[in-house]
């Protein structure tokens, strides 16, 4: 409990609680401060609006010298989020700075939802639709927004039932790639 990393995480938590950025919350597990659950609301005026996206942050003793691993638990359709929920975000990789804290990480991710970067896609299909077919992109994103409101049991049911796709709403258009993503997450 007394390592520098743990103290720093306690401070991160206090800071996040005392001045939470809008639409963001996060908290370490009661029994393990190295594992944090977080929720980001989809920013307004974007297709992600009203989504309640869940994330998992995993720290180790090298924090804050090295960034944590951040992963979306909710299924995402975003040019810079891989099918398994991992993110392609520079500040979590080569642009990391040890002065960043959990609030800064979550805020950056929230703004990534607002401003995707289709030039270094983690999800090629999302990137392509974002560039070429905004209407379809928005429709697909909205499907994930609605899925984000479901209970995890319902999500499990939806993605587990039938090899077809992760959710009723988007099932008929679901390309094989998406379906794989859903399966991988459920497994």
């Amino acid at each position: 409990m007394s390592t520098n990393c743990r103290k720093r995480l306690i401070r991160d938590f206090r800071r996040l609680k005392s001045d939470p950025p809008g639409g963001i919350s996060g908290s370490p597990l009661p029994d393990n401060i190295m594992l944090w659950n977080a929720v980001i609301f989809g920013p307004g005026d974007t297709p992600f609006e009203d989504g309640t996206f869940k994330l998992l942050l995993t720290f180790d003793e090298s924090y804050p010298n090295k960034p944590p691993t951040v992963k979306f638990l909710s299924r995402m359709f975003h040019p810079n989020v891989y099918a398994n929920g991992e993110l392609c975000l520079d500040i979590l990789q080569n642009r990391w700075s040890p002065t960043y804290d959990v609030a800064a990480i979550l805020t950056s991710i929230q703004s990534l939802l607002h401003d995707p970067n289709p030039n270094s896609p983690a999800n090629a299909e999302a990137a392509q639709l974002y560039r070429e077919n905004m209407k379809e992109y928005v429709r697909r994103v909205k499907a994930t927004v609605e899925e984000s409101w479901l209970d995890p049991e319902e999500v499990a049911e939806a993605s587990g039932s039938g090899a077809g796709g992760p959710g009723d709403r988007s099932m008929e258009e679901e390309p094989p790639e998406r379906a794989q993503g859903g399966d991988a997450m459920a497994s």
Partner: protein
């Protein structure tokens, strides 16, 4: 939630600005942006940013840039900042004291609000504090460290002569000193220590003691006396203490530091040599070293040879860092203490394994109630920020950890303001850029 009660101090130990102006900000500014502790052996690098010596050294070992502004930086730029170190050591003394005063203040306010009608003296003033005390419950729940310590006896804290007013918090001195703030004409009526009612204001011929030098002076002459710097006939005691203070400032700490460093002769340091003590160890390039050379270097420093080659490299690298950071301290640790630090660090990093969650859905089901709470919290925070374009006092108080603290507080991140949205903690000029897949 045991980690909440852990003895970790931070700036949220202090109430927000509207209750105790400046304290939270002050405590925050004296903390390293990397570790969040009050600076330990503070050093400055070329761009002017300040960090704990050990923190910036470990950061520079990974990346040669300032963690705050990304200006290029290297170990050679590191300069100790003894003034800041002195400030920190004084603040370390003052901190628990101020927190105790704040707590007493709070308790007094709470006590007076519960027994409002009971006391006639100073009741009206005390009642004024009541709204404040409800606000500071938030602060109470965040208290850690010394503020949790038992307080001084109640009888003392309720004495009517120490008013629960702001000036008192900022002047943690004896009661007599506070008494004397009354005559000063430029203090606003409402800022005066509260419970002092009119009949306590001295008349021109009354003898009062000077708030600065404690000497007894006629009230009518007090202002002139202070203007002259309390010099009329200089009170011997003050002069002496001033002299000692100055000698401390002028060289005490610097010289002491050197001497302490030199006099600490280590028992187990066979290779120790007085002349080496003040020189930093060179940073090694491990790839060019043969095992034998590396072994010799470890033995030179009396470090163990357990583990494999990568353990040796890490051990030696960390040792050099700890050793050099220790030179930036004026109260240096002994080598034995440094070795203990090194050992602890090795133990800590040994348990560094990230947990990997494979069953994402199962995990969400398991932690469903926590996520429900988090969603509520996020909803509240977005509501709180949305209409708070001007009113969010809290946001203005706690500057983000990063260098962005020099810029104005980030705009409320309501849904409508996302167009010009910039994340709080990010470095200047940092756009949210997504890097190519090959990076990691």
């Amino acid at each position: 939630m045991n980690y909440l009660t852990a003895d970790v101090q931070d700036e949220t130990d202090f109430p927000p600005r509207d209750q105790a102006p400046g304290l939270r900000g002050l405590d925050g500014s004296l903390r390293c942006d990397i570790c969040g502790e009050l600076y330990d052996a503070p050093v400055t690098i070329a761009c002017g940013h300040c960090f704990c010596s050990a923190c910036i050294r470990s950061s520079l070992a990974l990346k040669q840039e300032c963690p705050s502004c990304r200006a290029s930086a290297g170990e050679v730029h590191i300069r100790p900042n003894p003034i800041l170190e002195k400030v920190i050591s004084d603040w370390n003394d003052a901190r628990p004291f101020i927190l105790r005063l704040l707590k007493q203040d709070d308790e007094r306010a709470a006590a007076s609000s519960s027994e409002i009608a009971d006391k006639d003296k100073g009741t009206s003033k005390k009642r004024k504090r009541t709204p404040d005390s409800s606000k500071s419950h938030f602060f109470d729940s965040n208290i850690a460290g010394p503020s949790r310590n038992p307080l001084s006896p109640n009888g003392k804290s309720i004495r009517p002569s120490s008013p629960p007013s702001r000036p008192k918090k900022l002047k943690p001195k004896s009661d007599e000193v506070i008494d004397m703030t009354i005559p000063s004409s430029d203090i606003e009526e409402d800022e005066m220590p509260a419970a002092r009612s009119g009949n306590l204001v001295p008349k021109a011929d009354d003898l009062v003691s000077c708030p600065i030098c404690q000497k007894t002076v006629r009230y009518s002459k007090l202002n002139g006396h202070i203007d002259k710097g309390c010099k009329d006939p200089p009170p011997a005691k003050t002069a002496a203490s001033a002299a000692s203070t100055w000698s401390k400032i002028m060289g005490g700490s610097a010289r002491n530091g050197h001497q302490k460093g030199k006099h600490k002769k280590k028992g187990n340091g066979v290779h120790d040599d007085d002349s080496d003590e003040d020189y930093p160890l060179p940073i090694a390039t491990y790839t060019t070293l043969k095992d034998r050379q590396l072994k010799e270097m470890l033995l030179d420093q009396d470090l163990p040879l357990t583990g494999d080659r990568s353990n040796w490299e890490q051990r030696h690298q960390r040792w050099v860092m700890l050793y050099n950071a220790n030179l930036d301290r004026s109260n240096r640790k002994t080598k034995a203490e440094l070795r203990r630090d090194l050992k602890k660090w090795e133990e800590d990093t040994a348990k560094k394994k990230k947990i990997v969650i494979h069953d994402v859905i199962g995990y969400q089901i398991e932690h469903k109630s926590e996520f429900t709470k988090l969603i509520d919290a996020a909803r509240q925070s977005s509501k709180a920020k949305a209409p708070a374009a001007s009113g969010s006092a809290d946001a203005a108080i706690v500057p983000p950890a990063g260098p962005a603290s020099s810029s104005p507080p980030s705009p409320p991140k309501s849904s409508s303001s996302l167009a010009e949205f910039k994340p709080t903690g990010l470095l200047p000029g940092d756009n949210i850029v997504v890097d190519s897949e090959g990076e990691q």
